[in-house]
Each structure stands twice: as C-alpha cells, then as structure tokens.
C-alpha cells in the first residue's frame, strides 16, 4: 500500500503532472465533501473546511499545529469529552468537600434509591411495601403496562416478587371502580394501594 501511494506521487499519469492532477483531485474531493456537509446541515463545517483548504494551499510550510488545533476545536465542541473531564473534576471535588455524605452512602445497605434515581411514585410504593412488611404485591393492569413503574418496582423490591394472587394491589384512582370490595391502605402521587379479601 505504501509503495503504491508513494509511487503515485513520483510518477506522471497519462503525461499529466501529478502535482496538477493531485490539486484537481483535492479540489473535487473538497467540493464533494463541502456539498455533502452542506446537505447534512453542517454548513458551518462546510465553510470551515473550504477556508482551511485555502489556508493550507496558501501556506507553503506544513503547519501541523494548525491541524492539531482544529482537531482540538472539533473535540471540544462536537464530542462529549469535555463533559467527561468536567464530571471527573466535579465529582472528585464533591468528595473532597463533603466526604461524610459519600462515606455514609457507600457503606450503608440499600442506599441510593431516592427521587434522583427513580420516580417519586416508586420511592413511595417501596416505602409502603417496607413499612407494612408485605410478603408480596401485585400491580393493576394499567400499572403493569407502565414500563417504568413495572420495571422499577420489580428491581427495587427484589427479592420480593410480584404475585398475581396477592391481596395487596397497587392501582390508579380510575381503576378503583374494579376494586370496590377492597380496603384502601394508602394513596399518594395518583397511586392507590388496597387490600383485597
């Protein structure tokens, strides 16, 4: 591959000077690249690309630092890398500022389930199950089909399992009509928990 490419730069092709041919090829390639970026709503880059090409053509030397600088600009403005660097700095500073908060969270059982990690409805449902020491529970059809509620309650309450025959049922207020014979235990955040006979 290397020989092929370096050979290309040394020889004449069909009697045409390779330098001229290369310039034409670069122009065609750049034009296509500019149009492509323009069509893909990358107008700024299309313009930038063309300006850079002119700059490289004008400059006689080969300014590697210009290429490096341009790549750094693309990395900073077009990738998530700066967010990652920022996150590392912030989280480390946070640990330095309030270490006791993290130590308490790290070394206690069942920590980390709160309104910043799961929906407030889940936090409440979990507290109802834990406070009443239910052995099992069930979800109404409506809640069962709600992916977020279903998945979160299953994984946060595990190893407690959903049981279709359970007398403890979580439901939405509009479904209460189907559970008229059941006793209301608690309700919050548009979720009701009932005990059915």
């Amino acid at each position: 591959m290397n020989n092929l490419v370096t050979g290309f730069f040394r020889k004449k092709i069909l009697g045409i000077d390779t330098k001229k041919l290369l310039t034409i090829l670069v122009d065609v390639f750049l034009l296509a690249w500019t149009v492509f970026n323009f069509l893909m709503r990358n107008q700024l880059f299309a313009f930038f690309c063309f300006a850079l090409f002119l700059f490289f053509q004008i400059m006689r030397s080969k300014p590697y630092s210009v290429l490096a600088g341009t790549l750094i600009v693309i990395i900073i403005f077009n990738t998530r890398c700066p967010f990652a660097w920022n996150d590392i700095i912030i989280s480390n500073l946070d640990v330095i500022v309030r270490p006791s908060f993290f130590v308490k969270n790290l070394f206690s059982a069942n920590t980390g389930i709160g309104e910043n990690t799961v929906d407030k409805k889940i936090v409440w449902m979990l507290s109802v199950i834990n406070n009443n020491q239910f052995d099992n529970y069930n979800l109404s059809d409506s809640l069962d089909q709600d992916g977020e509620i279903n998945q979160r309650i299953v994984e946060t309450t595990w190893p407690l399992k959903q049981d279709k025959d359970s007398k403890i049922i979580f439901l939405r207020p509009e479904e209460m009509i189907n559970y008229s014979s059941c006793d209301l235990i608690d309700q919050k955040w548009e979720i009701i928990v009932v005990h059915c006979p």
Partner: protein, 474 residues
C-alpha cells in the same frame, strides 16, 4: 466502627483487586505469551503482561463462578488460584533479586498516570448511584439477583416471569463481578457494586498507556478515546466498555502491523474474547474483529512464523478463554433464556425485507450518520490534510476502518430486523450502538495522525542531517 471497617475493606479491594486479577490471569497470560508459566526475566514486557493478566483474570474469575455457580466457593477457588498465579509471576523476579528494570522516564510517567487515573475515576463511578435505565433494569439488576441468591444458578430467578423485561439472556460477566463485590461487603446498595466498572475499565486504560509517545497523536488518543464514551463508561451501561475494548483491539492490530510483535496480535484476540462476555453486541464486534485478524494473520503469516514469541500453545489457550462464553450459552439453552431479537427466524427475515422496501432503512441510515458526524468530520479533515501534505497512507489504520464498517453494517441489519418499534429502538439506542463504530474511527484517526507525525519526523531528520552535512563540507 462498621464504617471504618468498610472503609478499610474498600481500600483493600481497591489495592488488592488488580493484584488478584493479575495473579489469576497470569495462569492464562504466561502460557499465551511465553508458552510456559516461568518465563525468563529478560524476555518480559512488564506493563503489557500485567494488563493481559488482568483481563485474563476477570475472564477466569467469571469462568470459575460459572462452573461452581456459587459466589462463595467461586471466590475461595479463584483466591487460591490467584495466589498460585502470583507466586508463578513473582518467582522469576525473586530469582533475579527483584531486578525490575524501569527502562526510562516514560515508564515512570506511565505508572504514575495510570495510578492517578485509577483514583480519579473512582469518584465518578462509586459516588453516583445507579440511575440509568439499562443499568437498573438489566446489568445491576442481574448483579442484585446473583448477590441475593449467592449464586448464578436458577435460584437467582432468571426464569421468573416478572423479570422478562430484564433480558436474562444477556452476558453476566460484569454483573457477576458486581455481585462478588457486594458479597465481599455483605450488603447491597446502588453505589459499591459499580466498582466492577472500574475493574473492567482499568486494564483497557493501561493498554492505552502502552502507546505512550511524546506526540499530539498520543495526547489525542488518551484524551479522546476513554472519555468519548461519557457517560456510558461509569453510568452502569456496558456500551462504553464494549466500545473501549473493541477500540483497544483495533489499536493493537494496528501496532502489530507496525512492529510485527506477536504479543499485540495475542492481546487483540483476548480483547475480542473479553467483549463477547460484556454484551450481546460483543459477538458482532468479535466477528468483525476476527475477520480482520484472520486477514492480517494470513497476509503476515510468513513474518509471524519467524517470530520467536509465537507458540502453537496459543491456539488451545485461546480456545480455553472462550469457555466462559460457551458455558453461559449452555446455561442459557438449558434454562430456555432466549433473545428477543429472534435473529435468523423467518419473521425477522420478513421484517428485514419489509423495512428495506418501505424506506425505513433511510431512517436508520440518517440516525446512524447523525451519530458518526463529528468523527467523520474529523476524519475528513485529516484525510484532506494527508492528501495536501502528500503523506503516504499507512496500513495501520485500515483494520479499524474495516471493523467499523462491518460493525456498522451488522447494527444496520439488527435495526432492520428488530421486532420493536423502529423509531423507539433508534431513539433509545443508536447513540450507544454507534459508540463502537466511533471508537474505531478514533483509532483510525490516531493511526493517520501517527503517519503524519512519522512523515514529519522523517522530514525533520533528513533536514537535520542535510544541515549537519553542509556544515561539515563548509
């Protein structure tokens, strides 16, 4: 008191964890690299073998837990083997009066950088609780199931109908590691099991540091590659780790094409084997990577055979390292855990044809392109510069580009056959599935930058020699 004790425990796990994996992995890495467990000191590549051992250690640890199914027995057995492996690792060093050669300043900087990054990354990983969807619903839920059952067997609850959403068929290497960490502490919470992410991320970062060079290309590699996957490296998803190891594998193939060191090829294969245990997409990455590796091995077969590091023992050892994956496949079949994508079924083929006909593929292509845009932009720029500056194209970047193409084509087909709503599937996953493709583009860009720098350094050398010659003449 318990907090102090747990703090000490965390410190010990952080310090001893990597050593435990090195010991365990040495049993795999030593025969793979040297053909025996007690290689001569002068032949050894310290940092590279430590990295390979760590990855091998994670694989063996997972394999042992899969075989015995119990977390407790698995930890005892792995611990015993790790001590044996560490002894074998250290014997030659003691024989030579612990003569570790830190060859140059680079190695000291390398080690220092690695340690700093290890502790810097600890904070974003374990101080943020699990909140991402898949992390909670799949990966760390599996870890919780294993931890609470103290087993990866059926008692973990894989067949329970309420956990169908959790894709119980997904690989469980990282969840097993997370469950082991929780087991060592004796309780479950949403922070500590995430330590498993650091242990899996760390060896890949060490591998990256072996490319250390005083150049912009290395700065580009070290600042972009690991952090491009934000936040997928430390939020509990496996996509970042998969992409990172895939990239490392392609980097190593590139270095093999440059130096023809058999070691790089071996490590690349181990990386590919490692990723099939991370996530299902790892199988696609494995196929893409192996296709390239076979081509590379075929075209370099004459040069490789003369390399003294190559040993035919390499083949059975490689097959041995695939065992954890095979065991998990057997369990999945036994427990009837099937994948929801129904790949290869008649319905999937009809879905593929329908989506090709109704123009859905355009939506997929647009979504995929949207994710690749920034890096294609960068790549286009480097290519233009290479053409203008007449830099010869270097073959080291080719494997990464072909791998990206194969992987991208595979993901495109998966989107065509998905039984889920295509729009929903694309919106929720395309940014993650394209991480592996992007990682290959980063690797390709690195090798292109490397060839530009090489060209410049050659030009500089010629210029310097010309100046010195003219001075002599005058």
């Amino acid at each position: 008191m318990s907090i102090v004790l747990n703090f000490l425990k965390l410190g010990l796990i952080l310090l001893l964890g990597p050593i435990y994996f090195v010991g365990l992995g040495w049993l795999l890495a030593a025969p793979l690299l040297y053909g025996n467990w007690l290689p001569k000191l002068k032949d050894r590549l310290f940092l590279n073998e430590v990295t390979l051992s760590m990855v091998g250690g994670i694989l063996i640890n997972f394999g042992i837990v899969l075989c015995v199914q119990s977390l407790k027995i698995g930890l005892y057995l792995s611990g015993f083997l790790s001590i044996a492996g560490l002894t074998l690792f250290l014997i030659p060093l003691f024989k030579n009066h612990l003569r570790f050669r830190i060859s140059d300043k680079h190695t000291i900087f390398q080690l220092l950088g690695i340690v700093i990054i290890y502790f810097l990354l600890l904070s974003p990983i374990i101080t943020e609780p699990l909140s991402a969807w898949d992390a909670r619903s799949i990966w760390f839920f599996h870890a919780k199931m294993i931890f609470l059952a103290r087993s990866i067997g059926l008692s973990a609850g894989w067949q329970n109908t309420t956990v169908l959403f959790s894709h119980a068929d997904y690989p469980i290497m990282v969840p097993t590691l997370a469950a082991q960490i929780a087991y060592l502490f004796g309780f479950w919470n949403e922070y500590l099991p995430k330590l498993s992410l650091l242990f899996v991320f760390f060896p890949a970062f060490i591998w990256l540091s072996t490319f250390l060079k005083r150049s912009f290309s290395f700065v580009f590699l070290i600042l972009v590659l690991p952090f491009y996957f934000f936040p997928w490296i430390w939020n509990g998803y496996m996509d970042g780790l998969l992409a990172f190891y895939f990239a490392i594998s392609m980097l190593l193939i590139g270095r093999f094409l440059l130096n023809r060191q058999f070691y790089d090829l071996a490590c690349s294969i181990v990386c590919l084997i490692f990723i099939i245990n991370i996530k299902n997409e790892g199988t696609l990455a494995f196929l893409a990577g192996m296709t390239i590796l076979l081509f590379v091995a075929f075209f370099n077969r004459n040069r490789m055979n003369t390399n003294k590091r190559f040993s035919w023992k390499f083949i059975p050892i490689t097959l041995f390292s695939i065992l954890p994956y095979i065991i998990w496949q057997i369990y999945k079949n036994q427990w009837a855990l099937s994948n929801d994508l129904q790949i290869g079924s008649q319905t999937s083929i009809s879905r593929l044809l329908t989506r090709l006909a109704d123009g859905s593929f355009q939506l997929i292509l647009t979504s995929i392109f949207g994710q690749l845009k920034p890096l294609l932009m960068m790549l286009g720029l480097i290519f233009i510069v290479m053409i203008i500056w007449k830099v010869p194209y270097n073959s080291t970047s080719i494997p990464a580009f072909i791998a990206a193409l194969i992987y991208c084509a595979g993901i495109f087909i998966i989107y065509l056959i998905t039984p889920a709503d295509l729009n929903w599937h694309l919106i929720t996953s395309v940014n993650r599935t394209m991480l592996s493709v992007n990682s290959c583009l980063i690797v390709g860009s690195y090798w292109l930058l490397y060839s530009i720098e090489k060209r410049f350094s050659n030009t500089m050398e010629i210029a310097v020699s010309c100046i010195s010659l003219s001075k002599k003449r005058s």
